[in-house]
């Protein structure tokens, strides 16, 4: 895998402590009800044009170049659903489906990046797309409408 796009215009090495993971399931929120994933839901903040105030802060730079995902298993799903249901209660029109996905070989790498505040989230990972990334390299395992969990 190559990551030239990930490292475009930065000296940060976002791949430190990252690894390919084709075994575990991950959760990511997506938009309108649908049966397939859309590339829009897999655009990083960097690709959407966000500017980072401190370009030397590699954790911030890399965070904006990765996609937020949560590792999804029997130990984590209750906490993940609770967080997303909190979001849903506040903003019911904001990406109100939860996709459960598995990355295929060549899609990219994940790095464990726990969130500290405002509410700690040990399940959080950054997913860094490889240069070859496309949605065929992501297996959609389940699509959960958050409304059904209200």
């Amino acid at each position: 895998m190559t990551f030239n796009q990930l490292h475009e215009n930065t000296d940060c090495d976002c791949l430190i402590k990252s690894q390919e993971n084709t075994e575990n399931l991950f959760a990511r929120k997506v938009g309108k009800a649908k049966t397939e994933l859309k590339s829009r839901d897999f655009k990083t903040h960097h690709e959407r044009g966000i500017t980072v105030a401190s370009p030397d802060d590699c954790s911030k730079v890399c965070g904006k170049r990765g996609l937020s995902v949560d590792i999804w298993n029997d130990d984590t799903k209750a906490a993940i659903l609770q967080r997303f249901m909190t979001t849903f209660a506040i903003s019911p029109k904001l990406k109100n489906h939860l996709s459960i996905i598995k990355f295929k070989e060549g899609a990219g790498v994940v790095k464990h990046t726990p969130v500290v505040e405002p509410i700690p989230n040990e399940n959080h990972y950054d997913f860094y797309k490889s240069d070859e990334f496309n949605l065929d390299l992501v297996e959609l395992v389940e699509l959960i409408p958050l409304r059904q969990n209200v």
């Binding site: 929120k29 655009k43 966000i50 405002p118």
Partner: protein
Amino acid sequence: MFEINNNRNVASDLPIITNNFQVLHFDEFPILFIGENPYGNKILGSLVCEDEDDDNLFRYFQSIVKDEIYFQFIDKKISYLEVLENSSSIFVLDKDINNKIIAIFHISFSEIPKDYLPLPNSFCPDIAELMSQRTH
């Protein structure tokens, strides 16, 4: 995105947070947050939606809240829906991904489409830092 009549467009810094910004709930973006406007009023805000057709357009509610209402909210005595229901100062702010304000609208609660309203269980998440601000 829901349509807002252009006559609701205002040029006002009342809903703009300039001090003490604090995120109450984060989910990829700040979803629920508090802060103060240039006049020291508390502003409670939320990310409402992203434009489905424009990657770079985000819509927020930002309302001026009285201290009494704010403390009732962080004490979970009232929901975010009730805060909005009882607010006479609801502003809609359209911003880009870098928080640059594109438009500000002053609307009434009744102008918000029902499916964009917070749910009745939209209570303030537990945040340790907020506990110290509580009234009891």
